[in-house]
Subunit: 414 residues, 2 copies
């Protein structure tokens, strides 16, 4: 098998599965639907319908792409034996690893949410590393990280190691990490683990530091039933998605503070194209390659302006409302990022943010009945300063089904 | 309560418990004896007897130090509710956090050992952070890290952040980390988590980057029954301890490669004194303080020479045998470390390495019957290049008792 995609039920995972199945004729995918469960657990939902499970989605895909096949494996990647069995079965040339708890606010809800996020992400990534070393040692691990690993340093964010001079001596060091949530921290941990696996086992890996992804469409979505999930609530949604939903729900965009927090962005289609390009152009045997994957840099105020403008063109008037930033982050800062590897491989963005935002608003409007009744969930409900945001977010499923082995009640002596 | 010590059944934990109980009149301690179980699980044992459990050790301590009390809590710090209950009960001014899987070779045995090490260490540390924030928000977290977090950079290892200039811009960044095992990686993860808790919650913390500790004695060991554990096997022992045991067992010291791997060292008594000094001189409210805790720097060949020389004086002749380094590490490298905070607080080493080595050889000789039959375990049996060293290290207990929730068998489709 050419490729396995881990986390294929997710926002990026599903379009990636379709892309690879379309290009290669077949692909194997893995998920345990935990994102669906965790989203529902805190009162969220995908704003667009996505079908019952991956088997149904895969069948539907094959109907629209005759002769192309998506093989589905359902299971928990925290289990080393499961991961080993999957990798051994397919011995893929590339594993696209997107299977992580990927929400910063979720990781900040409470102790148990932080614990779940970090142990889940570290465990799944570690299991993948070991399974690849054993069963496809020359395979390419294409791992999803985040630009959020770097935080907002006062120096340029390099792509890979940087050579520094300090007190008259030189060294090559990892570009500094200063992540902004327990989730982002977990991704830094994964990065360190992969870099180490490269050092001791010459693991061939691409570590993708990805910007914030927005948009609802990719080329393979030729049928309504082939859509990917879209999260618009305060916990699972990202900034542009939330603005688009706020526009429709309230004619009002909520801006954190002055909106000068600056990040890199790219569209869903561009993200898929970049990942495919990286899969097609793997690093050398034994090479560890870090890629900063983004298109353009915006601050959150500029993004609100774009959504407001496109919204107005489509008949949605809107105002801005300034609210307190629920996160702890620098409100004004320098931000410059080196991102040269993807353009060198031929990456060029397929569309403008304006076009994508127009499509998103249109899709969200068409599926309003799926998410409108949950529109109160778009308001921030997780504050970084609090250790227990769980009062309004019961997380029953999480408490019941995860953290086994950690949740036993030990007695404290009287 | 002035202090809680987490991991008090360990090599440093127990003497630290005695020191604090002696100085403060009382101390609370926590352990779940997992180190005893994991050591036995791979065929090791403490070379010195340490009593049945902490309750027995605490009783024995009070017999020899009348009026001084060690309160014992037994439980697994991976459980958030247990950690919260303990911290809530005692609301300590300082928590000395020593409760970690602390063996690099153990973490490299196999996938499950790496998984256990990283999830255990991240979970316990995260639970402590949350519990302190909730129940003793101005308390001082005195957390044990390791000099191994830094690896062997080609620049000086600073104590805390360093100001760098890069492409004409300046920033303060964490001193670079390049850890050399899945265990060392887990300690880096803990460091990032504590630094983050400081950033968002103003957590008051001291992060101790400790050198390699050697020795068998501290001032409170006025009775045989008050000894601490000593590990001399290839998995759980550290270099000087292993040399001393090899001297007695085989009259032969095993040196990895050229023995030019250079590290910082300090004696057990000095480690205890340093930790107590840091507890007595906490960082400011809201301050995150990184301390490089070591006395002197040696390479592993120099250490072998010291053990050989002292051994000869005591009647033990010995030769050197060069063996392959089981680790993946730089065989020759620059090594310079800033360590100014502890001397500034008044730290001065209490004895020479020669005196400590003499005491260690003497103690190991006196208790030879406890460990001699397991002397084959002093030879390296875990190789960094291998993903499965478990063939000779069955780890039955680990497989049975840990990783619950991860070890379920998921089916891979035919």
């Amino acid at each position: 098998m050419k490729a396995i995609i881990l986390g294929a039920d997710g926002y990026i995972g599903w379009p990636m599965a379709m892309k690879m199945a379309n290009e290669y004729g077949e692909v194997a995918v893995v998920d345990n639907y935990v994102t669906r469960k965790l989203v529902a657990d805190v009162g969220g939902t995908s704003a667009l319908p996505i079908g019952k499970d991956l088997k149904q989605r895969a069948e539907n895909f094959s109907k629209h792409f005759p002769g192309k096949k998506i093989y589905v494996e359902e299971g928990d990647l925290r289990s080393p034996s499961f991961v080993e069995a999957v990798v051994k079965k397919y011995k893929p040339e590339v594993i696209v690893h997107l299977a992580q708890q990927r929400s910063a606010p979720y990781s900040q809800v409470s102790a148990i949410h932080a614990l779940y996020t970090q142990t889940n992400n570290v465990a799944t990534n570690l299991n993948v590393i070991y399974a690849m070393k054993k069963h496809t040692p020359k395979g390419h691990l294409l791992k999803m990280g985040t630009m959020g690993e770097y935080g907002t340093p006062n120096i340029v964010i390099e792509e890979g190691n940087m050579e520094i001079e300090y007190k008259g001596r030189k060294d090559k060091v990892m570009a500094p990490r200063a992540p902004g949530s327990f989730y982002h921290l977990s991704k830094v941990f994964d990065t360190y683990n992969v870099a180490f696996a490269n050092r001791i086992w010459s693991m061939r890996a691409t570590d993708v530091m990805q910007g914030v992804v927005y948009g609802t469409r990719t080329e393979e979505m030729i049928d309504e039933g082939l859509r990917t999930r879209l999260d618009i609530d305060a916990i699972w949604g990202t900034v542009i998605n939330k603005y688009c939903a706020q526009l429709i729900a309230w004619n009002k965009l909520l801006i954190y503070g002055k909106g000068l927090m600056t990040r890199g962005f790219l569209s869903l289609q561009d993200s898929i194209n970049c990942l495919f390009l990286l899969a097609e152009n793997p690093p050398e045997e034994g090479e560890y390659r870090v890629v900063n994957q983004l298109d353009k840099i915006y601050n959150t105020y500029q993004l609100a302006e774009i959504v407001q403008k496109i919204g107005a063109e489509m008949g949605y008037k809107s105002t801005f409302e300034t609210i307190e930033d629920p996160r702890v982050e620098k409100q004004e800062h320098y931000y410059e990022v080196t991102h040269e590897i993807l353009p060198r491989l031929g990456f060029a963005p397929k569309s403008t943010m304006e076009e994508q935002v127009r499509q998103m608003i249109s899709d969200l409007a068409a599926y309003k009945k799926y998410w409108y009744r949950k529109r109160d969930r778009i308001k921030p409900n997780v504050y970084w300063k609090d250790t227990d945001n769980a009062a309004s977010l019961k997380s029953k499923w999480l408490l019941k089904h995860t953290g086994k082995g950690y949740a036993e009640d030990f007695k404290v002596s009287e």
